[in-house]
Amino acid sequence: MAPALPKINNMPKPSWLTVRKDLSPRRHTALGIVAFLLPLAIWCLVSYVPFIWHPMIKIEAPGDVTWLKRGQLIPREDFGKEVARLQAESGHLPNGSRANPIFLPAPHAVARALYTAFMTAPVLRGDLWLHESLWMSIKTIFWGFVISSAIGLPIGILCGSYTAIARITEPFVDFIRYMPAPAFGALMVAVFGIHLEPKIAIIVIGTFFQQVLVIANTVRKTEIGLIEAAQTLGAKRSQLVWRVIVPASSPDLYNDMRILLGWAWTYLIVAEVVGVSSGITFFINQQAKYRNFDNVYAAIVIIGIIGLLTDQVLAFVGLRVFAWRNPRPSRVRTYLVRLITDQYATPLIKIPQYKPVVTK
């Protein structure tokens, strides 16, 4: 067996900012993490370093100021005035430390709230636990999106395929699209009652009309050459739509659906205040009323996490389902095949590489 040649890596280290160039996988991941760490760092800075913002004083001892209570937050200016007044009158000075306003809790408070929100029983009997509220919201979104898609997807595909259908549908859809979905709130309550149904209806109204137009536009972008080729192979009208146009535009339709699902979430909060307030919105409003802003942030963060996770999962599934777009062998399979077939298998343990010897 010939000795393995030493690998020489002469590739220049790529710059971080190269126009329209892919990043190495390591940098890709690193930047993704930094994208989250950076805002978190700013939040920590503002929360924990007193002289950056902290415009309030949290009272620890009221002293001789009658209207102050322990734990109260007052603006620094007002506190300064009181201190000056009492110094002049030589009374007991109030005592306090700098703090941020109540609407900006510190990260650790929100983190604690994330944990306790799930573990604490609701204040009022009959109210829902946080996870129950969340589940209710997810149900609302799910049904709203499914109903909207069940009608909107086929109509959008037909609009994109047949100009006549587009012409008879799209002008009116365009007209309704500009009406804000929450405007239908009262109407939906009259039609569907006060529980989950009107909320689902509002999500459907908010999503459906956009969906038809977005899907139709994507379908219209199908490469005309593919349609012509199919025609010369004998494909007729409906075959052209379902066997050519739909599969050809399916990856883009899938991405459209991902974006539309995000829109459905934005309609959720307004939908949930219609009729009897429900779901995560009820939780948020309730907590805001008690001025538990750490819980409010916790709930908003949870929505973000659910959204991000759903989208990542959908993106991953999309890559697998539409593998024909960017076909590449599975890494696991390649590894196993190499392991069995030849000696060039990538070793599991990294062997130190030979450095090329430069002789003068």
Binding site: G225, T232, L233, P247, W324, R325, P327
Partner: protein
């Protein structure tokens, strides 16, 4: 006609050896597959109608290889698209096996310059498409498709997606796909135009091989003169503005053809005639390209040739 030449002793492109003449006699006895009669196409332009094609008539016999050639903008592509039914003529008509045809159909298969393979289908599934459209079930269609894939030499790639194929392999798949649908005539619109010179030569040889072995009539559009002479039985030469038939040439190069014939006198004579038709020499000008008004931007003595 200018017969004073730089290449002396070339025969007239119309002289045919007895075997070639006999071949053409037999060819013309075969039934006419495609009969194009007075086909014309007008577009609406800014300043009134523009005639892209006028009064184009020709016939293609069964198992004939007819090339259409012409300068750019002569309406070659419009012509083949009309035959395929993807564009409509504003005058004249087309008969396929004696019956008038309108709109696209599987009886006129087409191979496009841009491959137009279905990217979500594997090679086999692409070739199956036409058969499935005709109502054949999957198993039967796939076994039939495999035979066509074998014919174009892509058996090793039958499960590959188009994105994994080279240009030549894509075009071979497209040819197999068109042939599998069993067309009466195969229309090819500059199919090798996007390929590099070597691959193109391979594909030409390959196409001749397929044509020899499969019962198929071919109408082939090209702007490559050598390609036309190498492949065609007859060459339909179009001229531009408006697109009209200038001449129908019978290629005197004997068959079977190969790239080795490119220096034979018949080949060169035909080639030269095509050149005269398509790149006519303007009066008073030599064949030399007009000199570009370029000023010298390099230093004296720094010459490259």
């Amino acid at each position: 006609m200018n017969t004073a030449t730089d290449i002396p002793l070339l025969p007239d492109y119309r002289t045919q050896s007895p075997t070639v003449a006999e071949r053409f006699r037999k060819l013309k006895e075969r039934p006419v597959v495609l009969d194009v009669q007075n086909l014309g196409r007008e577009f609406i332009g800014e300043n009134g109608p523009i005639t892209a094609l006028r009064d184009v008539s020709f016939q293609v016999h069964r198992r004939e290889f007819l090339c259409v050639i012409g300068p750019s903008g002569c309406g070659k592509s419009t012509l083949i698209r009309m035959v395929a039914g993807l564009d409509y003529p504003t005058s004249g008509r087309m008969l396929l096996d004696g019956k008038e045809v309108h709109g696209p159909g599987p009886d006129r298969g087409m191979v496009f310059q841009g491959y137009t393979l279905f990217p979500w289908r594997t090679v086999t599934e692409n070739v199956m498409f036409g058969l499935q459209m005709q109502g054949m079930d999957r198993t039967q269609a796939s076994s039939e498709a495999r035979q066509w894939i074998q014919l174009v030499g892509l058996s090793r790639f039958e499960n590959a997606f188009p994105a994994q194929l080279s240009g030549g392999m894509k075009q071979r798949t497209a040819i197999a796909r068109a042939l599998a649908a069993n067309p009466r005539i195969l229309l090819m619109d500059e199919p090798f135009g996007a390929l590099d010179a070597q691959t193109r030569a391979q594909m030409q040889t390959h196409l001749l091989e397929i044509w020899r072995n499969v019962d198929v009539t071919i109408l082939f559009i090209t702007h490559d003169l050598d390609e036309a002479v190498l492949l065609a039985d007859r060459i339909l030469v179009l001229k531009a503005n408006p697109g009209e038939v200038q001449e129908v040439m019978e290629v005197p190069v004997p068959r079977p053809r190969s790239l080795m014939q490119a220096n034979s006198p018949e080949f060169l004579a035909t080639r030269r005639r095509l050149d005269e038709l398509i790149h006519p020499k303007a009066e008073g000008h030599s064949a030399e390209i007009e000199k570009l008004p370029i000023i010298r931007l390099t230093q004296v003595g720094d010459d490259v040739e």
